[in-house]
């Protein structure tokens, strides 16, 4: 199969959907002629013009609220935040005017809006350009939250987002945006709420999210040389969260570690652990462990930045600890 970068994979999905559906438009800063800070829209401006690739002022709250109104009246906005950090100024609109609209109108309004942006720590982007924030959106009712880890999932999940009628947070870790991988041509959709077993194994279950999937797989490769057989699950969407796949794996392995770059308290790992302890209590042979980024704002300097992100060696150590319990 041909290979594409992650960002090219999402752009292909976007391009195909825009070609077919004239009600899709994109807003953001520099997503027009410039093609997006991360090339998310490059080439599309010439194809679809300024109304459908609409450069905005620095009015995040404004254009999110505007897109909420647009989604309610027959069009399908894609908000491209560049860095997802900039979504925070629109948080009130998202919580009260986007996530709740279908419910409050008893299903008479639809809310087909995609909110996309680069997440995560890396490249000394420092604390205003390193956020992820997805546990917050998983906490709140009304959002779908996708965190694809590989190019094919990026295309498949973005396609699903573009065809659905619900608000979707589509979050792309900066450190994997330009990774290459095989991506199916043509139409390719992956339903939300289906985890991917990134590696099959029998000794322990590792749930890894976004950029942590690759690092976890690398750690497993290393441990495999010592005979450790770890199963790695990539949930792909954290709302909805495919607990069935995780529970099934834990049933088999009896041990669970969740690896996630974002903050630990009230995070995705907490939710997974809480559900496993409730529904898979008898399957567990050991405590559930979580490995998260440090609970601090993101510092700039490389040695500090490295210190707060789980590294391959940290993951390896955590797996050893889990197996030793």
């Amino acid at each position: 199969m041909r290979e594409l970068t992650y960002v090219d994979a999402t752009r292909e999905a976007l391009d195909r959907a825009m070609a077919r559906d004239p009600s899709i438009f994109v807003v953001g800063e520099g997503i027009g002629a410039r093609g997006g800070n991360f090339n998310t829209t490059s080439g599309l401006y010439t194809k679809y013009g300024p109304e459908r690739l609409c450069d905005t002022p620095i009015s995040e709250r404004g254009f999110v609220g505007m897109c909420a109104g647009a989604a309610m009246t027959g069009t399908r906005p894609v908000v491209d935040f560049m860095f997802i950090d900039f979504i925070l100024d629109a948080f009130g609109e998202l919580v009260n005017q986007v996530a709740k609209m279908q419910y409050m109108s008893s299903g008479r309004l639809k809310m087909p809006i995609i909110l996309r942006g680069a997440i995560g720590i890396g490249h000394s982007a420092a604390t205003h350009h390193s956020g992820s924030y997805y546990p917050i959106f998983a906490h709140l009712p009304g959002f779908r939250v996708a965190v694809p880890a590989i190019p094919s999932d990026a295309k498949g999940l973005f396609t699903t987002a573009l065809h659905g009628d619900d608000p979707v947070l589509f979050l792309e870790h900066k450190s994997i945006l330009f990774n290459r991988g095989e991506v199916p041509e043509g139409d390719y959709a992956i339903p939300f709420g289906q985890a991917r077993i990134a590696r099959a194994g029998a000794d322990c279950t590792l749930v890894a999210i976004g950029s942590m999937v690759g690092k976890t797989l690398a750690a497993c490769d290393k441990l495999a040389e010592e005979g450790v057989s770890a199963e790695v699950i990539d949930p792909r969407t954290i709302a909805p969260l495919d607990m069935a796949t995780i529970l099934e794996s834990v049933h088999k392995t009896g041990r669970l570690l969740i690896v996630d770059e974002t903050f630990q308290p009230c995070g995705v790992g907490a939710e997974i652990a809480a559900q496993v302890i409730d529904q898979g209590f008898d399957d567990l042979d050991a405590p559930i462990h979580r490995l998260n980024g440090a609970h601090v704002p993101t510092p700039y300097s490389p040695p500090l930045e490295n210190a707060i992100v789980p590294q391959e060696s940290d993951i390896e150590q955590s797996i050893r600890d889990l197996l030793a319990e």
């Binding site: 438009f25 609220g65 505007m66 109104g69």
Partner: protein, 343 residues
């Protein structure tokens, strides 16, 4: 200050616009419809106020009494497929957009027959089928959403219009600034109606804003803007006619400031003292938009007293029946409570 001017002018020559040329197309039916619309709002609000005292309304209830001319004058120009977004004080907008008193009252009573099936109450009225896209308990967002409807309508090459109603309180909010600017730079078919009743709850606009005027702010956004006497239904009607026509013609948005006053408390059951004088309230009651228009219709031989009395009586009966209907309506089923979070 313009504010004073508007009041002075109002007193000197009430409804002076009568002689203007722009009402060429104003038929007697239209005038009667405006009157009827205001009465529907007034009676429904008064019914809701009584119902609130009786404990039939469970949450908040912000009435529109004294401001009826605005929703009536603006919505007269809207079609069912135009999109209206409104605020916490939204009963009047819902009614003027075509939601029935039954559906509004039942909603505040929390019944499944309400326009939001009991999920919304006073501050969350929805009837998207006829373009009532929602009222909101948060001050500000409606401005952005109306711009968004405008974006849709422009992209879809339709001649529909997005309309936001909001109070003076929203003017100091970032949503006003960002929304008006976006609508202007993209020439969106939208109308921003500021109902300047001079107070945000108990905080005077004159205190909260560095500039006591709203209608002079359009140029800052490169947008048409105008201030009218919001208690003069014909002034509102004419200004809205122009603004809606401009939007439909693709000529961009308008900011319309309507100077008005709420004569009841901020919300039912709240105290209404300490921040404004009884004299001020009484003075504004003399400028009641319905009384004024009633008088104007008589003076201009557009209606006789009997016709108007008949309308009053008819609406009175309708609203009473609506309250009865609401009271007898079933409650929503608790087991539906998790429906419709997603499409």
């Amino acid at each position: 200050m313009l504010h004073q001017d508007v009041q002075a002018e109002t007193k000197a020559r009430p409804n002076a616009r009568k002689q203007g040329s722009e009402e060429a197309g104003r038929t007697t039916e239209e005038l009667h419809a405006l009157y009827r619309q205001m009465i529907v709002i007034r009676y429904t609000e008064e019914q809701l106020a009584r119902s609130h005292q009786m404990g039939l309304i469970h949450g908040a209830c912000h009435t529109y009494v004294g401001e009826e001319a605005i929703a009536s004058g603006v919505c007269a120009h809207l079609r069912a497929d135009d999109a209206v977004f409104s605020t916490h004080r939204g009963h009047g907008h819902a009614l003027a957009k075509g939601v029935s008193p039954r559906e509004v009252i039942a909603e505040l009573f929390g019944r499944v027959t309400g326009c939001s099936q009991g999920r919304g109450g006073s501050m969350h009225l929805f009837k998207p089928e006829i373009g009532l896209m929602g009222t909101s308990g948060i001050v500000g967002p409606c401005i952005l959403q109306a711009a968004g409807a405008g974006y849709s309508f422009k992209l879809l090459r339709s001649d529909k219009v997005g309309v936001a109603f909001f109070g003076d309180g929203a003017v100091n909010n970032g949503a006003f600034h960002e929304g008006l600017n976006l609508a202007s730079i993209w020439k969106l078919p939208a109308l921003f109606v500021c109902e300047n009743n001079q107070y945000a709850t108990e905080v005077p606009f004159a205190y909260a804003a560095g500039n006591p005027n709203v209608g002079n702010r359009g140029p800052i956004y490169g947008m048409e803007s105008v201030t009218v006497d919001g208690n003069d239904v014909l002034a509102v009607y004419e200004a809205a006619r122009e603004a809606v026509a401009r939007a439909r013609a693709g000529e961009g948005p308008t900011l319309l400031e309507c100077r008005t006053y709420r004569t009841r408390a901020h919300s039912e059951g709240m105290r209404d003292a300490g921040y404004r004088t009884q004299e001020e309230v009484e003075e504004w009651k003399t400028r009641d938009p319905i009384k004024r228009f009633h008088q104007w219709l008589l003076e201009n031989q557009e209606a006789d007293a009997e016709t108007l009395a008949a309308i009053d009586a008819e609406i009175k009966a309708t609203v009473e029946e609506a309250a009865e209907f609401a009271r007898n309506s079933p409650w929503p089923e608790p087991d539906t409570v998790s429906d419709h979070i997603f499409s």
